[in-house]
Every structure is written in C-alpha cells, then in structure tokens.
C-alpha cells in the first residue's frame, strides 16, 4: 500500500512539475518565434525555434503547438541545410511522423505533414480539423491540382479577400491547369515581402512567386522574361529553377 501511495505521489509531483515547466518552455520557444519576424537571418532563426521546440517536447510531449513548431522548422530547413539541420533528432520525416502521432488533432501539424508527404488526404483531414486554417486549404488545393482535380482545387483557392499566399496557391493551381496567362496574372498580385499566413521565412513567398512566374512565362514562350524570373527563384533557393537553368 505504501509503495502504491509513494508511486502515486511521485507521479503527481512529476505531473505538477510538468504543468509548471511546460508553459515556461513554451514561452521560450514563442520568444524565438517572435524573433523570426525581425531576425536578419530569419532562416537561421528557425533552427533556434526547432531546437528549442524539440528540447521542450522531451518534457512536454502533449503540446500540439510545440509539435507544430518542431515539424514546421524541420520542413523550412530541410532544403537549405541539405537535411542536416535536425538529422540528430531523426530528420524531417521522423519529426513529422511524431508530430502526427502526438498531435493528431492539430490542423497546423497535419498541414505540414500533408505537404511533406504530398498527401491530399492528410490535407483534407487538416482542413476538416480547422476549416478556417488557410494553410490547410492552400495545401489541399495545391495537392489536388497536382492530382488533376483542378475544379475542386480552384474552388478551394477562391477567397473573398484573397491574401498573398492564396494568390500564390491560385497561381500554382492555374499553372497545373495549363492556364499560364492567368497564373502569371495571379502571381503578379503577390506583394513581397508580404504577410504569410503561417510561420515562414520571408524568402519563401518571393521564391515561390518567381518560380511559378518563371514556369508560367515559359509556357507562354516568353523565354527572356521567364529566365529572369527563374534566375531570381534559383538565387532565392528554388531547386526546380536551379535544375531548369542547369539544363
């Protein structure tokens, strides 16, 4: 009986300590998230976000927000670091899988997983979890467009007050629908640096805008303009643009 009481006391004490520690650890990670907005090297700041989130998750594995931040940081840094940023923690796929299993009700975590795994069913699940979460809507639209479901993709990407990220999604869908002139028009509506609808490095929207512009202009046979956009995309880290230019 004494042993059971002791074990219960220990368990209660640990749970109490975690209750006190987790909000503090989460605040530490949120301070890094705030720094992303003003850091000169905002891409590098994602490393601090990811490192601190992963470290905090050892004590607070129930925090959906921390799982999202860990997964999102790993996603953002995958290409710039050649997969090395979080290799010691199992890498992008492992972190995303863990986020999905520990935070199954998190629309942001499911959205990251949908993009990383290229899964429209995960994106659909993310949108069902939170129908107002725009990154989930955009992820689903872009993945459906890749699968050829253009009508549904366009329907998802039509918003009453479209944001920069939604213009980008529409441009991607229109390019996939082989409507390059409309894709160009949509991409040109994106202001950079703009306000992302998800925690993102500034370069992301600029890079993706130039990339979609470049490939849409290529489809329109405007080679010189297309190459200019693709050079800008490549310089900003677009692997697709780099591959095209290398040819």
């Amino acid at each position: 009986m004494k042993r059971i009481l002791c074990a219960l006391c220990c368990f209660a004490a640990t749970a109490l300590a975690q209750q006190n520690t987790c909000p503090s650890l989460e605040s530490g990670v949120e301070a890094e998230v705030l720094r992303v907005r003003v850091a000169k090297d905002d891409l590098g700041a994602f490393r601090a976000v990811g490192d601190k989130a992963l470290s905090a998750l050892r004590l607070c594995p129930q925090s959906a927000r921390l799982w999202y931040l860990a997964a999102r940081s790993a996603e953002v840094l995958e290409s710039p670091s050649n997969g090395q940023a979080f290799a010691a923690e199992g890498g992008l796929n492992r972190i995303v899988a863990d986020a999905l299993s520990h935070a199954p009700s998190s629309a942001p975590a499911a959205t990251v997983a949908a993009r990383v795994q290229g899964s429209s069913s995960l994106a659909r699940k993310a949108l069902a979890l939170d129908p107002n979460y725009q990154p989930a809507r955009r992820a689903l639209a872009e993945l459906l467009a890749k699968e050829g479901a253009i009508d549904e993709a366009l329907r998802l990407a039509s918003a009453k007050t479209p944001s920069g990220p939604m213009h980008l999604t529409r441009a991607h869908v229109l390019l996939a629908a082989k409507r390059p002139a409309e894709a160009v028009a949509e991409a040109r509506k994106i202001m950079t640096p703009g306000e992302p609808d998800e925690l993102s490095p500034t370069v992301e929207m600029y890079r993706d805008k130039q990339e979609v512009l470049g490939f849409a202009l290529l489809d329109l046979q405007k080679t010189a303009e297309a190459r200019k956009a693709l050079r800008a995309a490549a310089a900003a880290g677009s692997v697709a643009a780099q591959r095209y230019l290398a040819k």
Binding site: S24, S81, N82
Partner: protein
Amino acid sequence: MANFGKYANLSKHGWTEKTATQVIAIGQNAHIGLWGGGPAGEDLIVKATDPSICVTHEEPSNKAYAHWRHFLITALRDGRTIITATMPSGAIWASMTAEVTGKAGVRLVFFPGERMAGTTTAGTIYVVGGHGENMKAAGGPPVGRPDRGGHTIDPTPPGNYVLGPRIHVVAPSWPTSAIPWGATLRLNAAKEAEYESPPGHWRRATGAGGVVTDAQMAFYRRGGLKPDLKRVIEEVRAYFVNPKTGLLWDTTWVWNDFGRWGWNLLRNGHGTPYFVHTTPDDEHATDQGKAVFLVNSHGCIHLVPAERDRLMNAGYLKQGVPFEVRPYTESGPP
C-alpha cells in the same frame, strides 16, 4: 581530346607553351583556356593537385570560341603544382603546371559564386600569401530582392576592400542588433530589461522608449506597417523576460544578428554597409557542437564561427588586411 592553352586575348605573360607551364607571382592571377572535353564531349573537372598553392575558377566562356573554356588561376603561396582536367571517373585528360613564385603581404580573396550548398550560393575565402588556408563563406544571393524592415537583400559587390577593426557590431536597423553581442543584461526596479554598453553605462532595452522597442517600431514602419506600440512592447519584452517567471531568459545578450565579431569592409578608407560576420544561430550551433550550414546574407559575408576563430587566431582575419570580392560568375572549384 583536351589541352590547356591560350586563346583569344588571354595574356601569354608567364606562359611556356612547350612545357605547358604558367608562372604566377603570389597575389597575382593568370588566365588559361581548356580546349576540348571528354570522349563523348563531357565537361572535364579542372583543379589544382595542391589547392594550397593555387586555385582555379571557371569564368563565363567566350561564345566566339567554341570548344574553349576559360579558367582563372589564383596564386596563393610559393610552390609548384599540376593542374589537371579530369573525367568524373578521375582519368586525367589534360594537365599543365602552375609555378607560384615570390613573396607578398597577406590578403584575402572571396569567390562568392563557387557552388550551391543546399539552396545557398556558397563560396570560399582564400588566404593569399599565407600557407594555403581557406574558409567557407556565403555572401548575398546572386540576384537581389526586397526584405522586411525596409531592407534589401543584394549580391555582395565585387571589388577591393580593406578589413576594418574587429568589433561587436551595433546596427539598430535590425532590432536585435541594437545591443552589442555579449552585453550584460539586468532588470531594473520597474522590471524592464537593461543592458550595459559601454561598461558601467546601463540603457533600457524594453518598454516604451526602450532601445530595442524603438528599433523594432522603426523596423516595422520602414517595412510599410503601422505597428501598435503596446504590441511591440510585449514582443520585445518576450525576447528578454520569461513571462511565466518574470526573470530574464539570460543575463548576456547573444542575439545580435552579426554574431560575436564583425569586420566592416572599408572602401577607399570609408565604411560600407558590408560586414564579414557570423550569425547568432550559427554561433549557438557551434557552441552546442552542432553542424553549421551557411545561408546567403543581405550582402555581408557570412562565416562559419569555428573557421572565423581559426583564421582570426592565425592572424589573417584582422584590421588592415586587403579583402577582394570576386564576381559571382567565377565558379568552382569542385
């Protein structure tokens, strides 16, 4: 079939055709052509057998001379080495000798467009007149773009500079760089964060009128935003103070965007917007024994902290050392 030689208007100074030997004085460059390629027209890989003596970079080719590729040889230290043109398998298809002679004062040469590392356009800083040392570095991306806070991201301009003194950079146009790296922090009686700079002089960082609050307000305004002071005060406070405990996260400021040390690139004796520096996240990764991956800068030159320390301790990274930035069009070596 392939061979090294001079074509078009490449200077023949120091070149002996018969022995395929190029003599170069330390600190000088020479240009050489490579005619031909592999058996199926493959691009050959050109590099010095001993890259501490000289390095090769490929220049854009002259379209009027088909089948010729153009290389720049940069002499680094006294010695003789073979430059080879090889197939990817390693088979040597052409070779020449580079003979580097003489003495010269130390200078640094940065080739910003050598290669892609991940999504970063990365390069190398070579020590000329040393012992063949070099270090990885990343300048701005080859194509510029607008950024937050009214800043722009630009390629690092090619040209000849001189390193300014080693400093803890203070640049309030980046809010977290309004405080020098390593400054001591404390909370005052009103529980606002203060930092010490210069020693013995305390300034308030947080709250209305705090140095970082003001810098962040200005940053947002320059970026075309209309910041809410109350919200900015909260954001800035979060950098310093744990809201759950009311205590400082740390008693030392280690989030200056320019890292621990910076050297300004002086041009004609005047300062420029360009610094040679590290980033706080790379400093922290180094302190934790983690790998560092460089990313492109806003036009400055990013270094790996451990390599910065190595060249600093060797006496190459210091005030007064000439520093040349080469064009992005010079690529390689592999």
